[in-house]
């Protein structure tokens, strides 16, 4: 045999074996120790978080998942582009994995970057069932680094997911410690006058929310790679090295503001996709998002990775250091952000003077004789039917600037003008905005969308119902898309909470106003009182989940099934089969 042919054959054989990796994961009951408390949870291969799954672009993976629990489970490969029946959502992609059963996932790896995986069954993910995915690209990266670490965050709560959901349903403010107090009411009265204060509170009550509803789940311990602040996960480095940090927010409910005092962070990837590098002092990571940053610590010293929750009710902390055991200063939590009237979205065009304060209908349940009447819980007795007439659809065209917000705060086009949530860097420097994210090498040609679908993000905090267009998942028809079209989604957030919207199976092209440079993501945060657009090239057949990634919002109904009609014929039969089996999403 010709030696050259031989070597070609050999390399073919080698690449065939390299390019078809087989992996095993077990789903297990585990113990989770946060340093603050120890509790039972769910993990993979005996630990929570599970392992870092390392794949190579172009590889065909085979992953055997064995369910050692006494309940159904599933694994969703968050952000991966794959056949819909491998996507791991019970009731949409497949029936789920029964206790004792091994399910084998098989799919090609068609992308590179930082992703993660988690259970899509019940509240197993908040209970610890998550891990990370790192995919090495076929070619070289458009940036350089000497070493890398996964930095995976979560908000570990002492209560189980089921118990949290029960409590939230019973008393939506159960976990909200930042509620405004009677004392604050009086101080507002002295500053703003009684009627203005009452009107302000009335308006908030109308949305069945409180000013402090930045986070509806407090009382957690922030973990980085499974370690609490005192356990201090530490990544080692040699001074002068370039370090790639792969941040993944696997929290059930918590957004984190991340900084490393003393180091610039250069953001090079968002949601696994390369972006034009942008250097920042701090960034906010939404639930389910990932950001890859490069840092270059030059000093022979430790640096703290500090991740404050958006509502400042907790934090995660880790350390980068030349040697194990070194520590740097750990900052204090900053003052909690407070929502403003601007964050009330559709409500903001409202003239408070027009509210009929004397309407017996509007005031019925309110007890004026006691300040207790302003208590969150008692507000639910109010009949707000008179607020319904307001035109929420006008949100996007609304001129926030005309609102008298008092003082000029920081601004970001992805937050309502005058929003109390606009983040600022602790050192006064650059805070990453979605507007800074530009695709490094756009995946899709820019083209006009074929149609627009409006999705109003809706909810009623008093009943802890969360929905889309006012309809919760159980009562909703699926969203039907046509294979080959490009759909423009218009998210109108009519609630006072931030919702990280996650479309499975197809990329979300986030409209940051950069046309062909708009970045592609798998999770798009929509801030209170804002309208955000994203476009999707409908290039994957089958049926997919589309939901808010806050665990308890998704479970409460802010969730849709998306059906892609048409496409390669072979998938149609599989879609029907997956639907047959049912199961819970």
């Amino acid at each position: 045999m010709n030696s050259r042919l031989g070597s070609v054959l050999l390399s073919l054989l080698m690449s065939a074996s390299v390019m078809a990796g087989e992996y095993n994961l077990t789903v297990d009951r585990v113990e989770i120790d946060t340093g603050d408390f120890v509790k039972d949870g769910i993990g993979y291969n005996g630990a929570s978080p599970g392992p870092v799954m390392r794949f190579k672009e172009g590889e065909n993976v085979k992953i055997n998942v064995t369910n050692n629990l006494d309940e159904m489970t599933s694994i969703h490969w968050h952000g991966l582009i794959l056949p819909f029946d491998q996507d791991g959502v019970p009731g949409i992609s497949f029936p789920g994995i029964k206790p004792g059963e091994t399910f084998t996932y098989e799919f090609p790896i068609q992308q590179a970057g930082t992703y993660w995986f988690h259970s899509h069954s019940g509240f197993q993910e908040p209970d610890g069932a998550y891990g990370s995915i790192v995919i090495e690209p076929e070619g070289r990266e458009p940036f350089r680094y000497d070493r890398e670490y996964v930095v995976q965050l979560t908000d570990k709560h002492p209560h189980s997911g089921d118990r949290i959901m029960r409590n939230l349903k019973m008393m939506p403010d159960y976990y909200n410690r930042e509620q405004q107090t009677v004392g604050e009411f009086f101080s507002d009265v002295s500053e703003n006058g009684l009627m203005n204060t009452v009107r302000d509170r009335m308006a908030w009550g109308g949305m069945r929310m409180m000013k402090a509803d930045v986070e509806d789940l407090q009382g957690f311990t922030g973990l980085i790679n499974g370690k609490g602040p005192d356990q201090n996960w530490t990544g080692l480095f040699e001074p002068g090295e370039r370090i790639r940090l792969r941040f993944i927010n696997s929290s059930a409910m918590t957004y984190f503001d991340i900084r490393i005092p003393g180091l610039d962070m250069t953001v090079v990837q968002a949601d696994g996709n390369n972006v034009q590098p942008v250097s920042v002092d701090e960034f906010r990571i939404g639930v389910a998002e990932t950001y890859d940053v490069i840092v270059r610590p030059k000093g022979e010293q430790a640096y703290t990775i500090f991740a404050e929750s958006m509502g400042r009710s907790g934090y995660a902390r880790a350390t980068l250091a030349p040697e194990e055991g070194m520590e740097a200063f750990v900052p204090q939590l900053r003052e909690p952000a407070r929502l403003t009237m601007a964050d009330m979205g559709g409500m903001s065009g409202m003239d408070h003077g027009d509210m009929d304060m004397n309407s017996s209908e509007g005031m019925s349940g309110m007890d004026h004789s006691s300040m207790e009447g302003m208590d969150h819980a008692n507000m639910s007795n109010m009949d707000h039917s008179n607020m319904k007439g307001m035109d929420h659809s006008g949100t996007s065209g609304m001129d926030h600037g005309s609102m008298a917000m008092g003082k000029e705060g920081p601004s970001d086009p992805f937050y309502a003008k005058g929003s109390g949530l606009v983040p600022t860097a602790a050192n006064g420097g650059k805070f990453l905005s979605y507007a800074d994210l530009k695709a490094q090498d756009p995946l899709y040609e820019d083209r006009e969308p074929t149609r627009e679908i409006e999705l109003r993000l809706t909810g009623n905090m008093e009943r802890y119902t969360w929905s889309i267009n006012g309809v919760k998942y159980e009562d909703a028809d699926p969203i039907r898309l046509k294979y080959g079209e490009r759909v423009r989604f218009k998210f109108v957030n009519e609630t006072m909470m931030t919702h990280p919207m996650h479309l499975h199976g197809m990329w979300s092209i986030l409209d940051v106003g950069a046309d062909q440079w708009n970045p592609i993501k798998h999770t798009v945060s929509v801030q209170p009182g804002t309208t955000v657009y994203m476009e999707t090239e409908v290039d994957e057949p089958g049926q997919w989940a589309f939901h808010c990634h806050l665990s308890y919002h998704a479970a409460a109904g802010m969730f849709r099934k998306v059906i892609v009609e048409g496409g390669p014929e072979s998938t149609q039969a599989k879609t029907d089969a997956a639907a047959e089996e049912g199961g819970e999403a």
């Binding site: 070289r140 458009p142 350089r144 370039r242 250069t266 590098p277 006064g428 650059k430 490094q440």
Partner: protein, 177 residues
């Protein structure tokens, strides 16, 4: 680049367009002694072709002799605007602040250079032209030469100071030996 430095620089610009323009124009000349000086084509000992991609160079580093004059043929093979700039790390850091302003003034827009903006009179006949002899700023597909006579300073890098690019790793060592 530290943001406070940038803010100071930005404030300076607001106060004085002259300072701004002088900053961009002055860079190469003021520090010429440190990194070398503009060379003559006739004295070039060799030609090195440098290809710029998103966001890295090929080759990733070069070796020169002290006092050697090199003719660089720089070609942008990426989809974004890139710079090839010879200087010390400190010079690059200073230049990054200027480049940030060029982005904020819309001179650099992803894959395009706004030439009208570069030519714009900033007052006192100054402009945001990027015309130092130690560097070229190129749109995708463009090709230009830099002829540089190196000194014996061994702390020299060639770098792209388009915001974020240097930090992402778009720089290479010039080894003087």
């Amino acid at each position: 680049m530290t943001v406070s430095k940038f803010l100071v620089a930005a404030a300076t610009i607001l106060l004085s367009a002259t300072t701004f323009a002088a900053g961009i124009h002055g860079g190469g000349h003021d520090h010429g002694a440190a990194s070398g000086e503009p060379g003559k084509a006739s004295e070039a000992s060799r030609t090195i072709t440098v290809e710029m991609y998103d966001n890295y160079y090929e080759p990733g580093s070069i070796i020169v002799s002290p006092g050697e004059t090199v003719r660089f043929v720089v070609e942008n093979k990426g989809n974004l605007v890139h710079e090839f700039n010879i200087g010390t790390p400190e010079m690059h850091e200073g230049h990054q602040e200027e480049m940030m302003m060029m982005v904020e003034h819309g001179v650099i827009q992803g894959g395009k250079l706004n030439h009208d903006m570069m030519e714009m009179d900033m007052g006192n006949g100054q402009s945001m032209k990027h015309d130092d002899p130690n560097s070229v700023l190129l749109e995708p597909g463009q090709r230009q030469e830099v002829i540089w006579k190196f000194s014996d300073n061994s702390n020299i890098e060639f770098a792209c100071n388009v915001p974020g690019h240097y930090q992402a790793g778009m720089y290479g060592d010039v080894k003087v030996q």
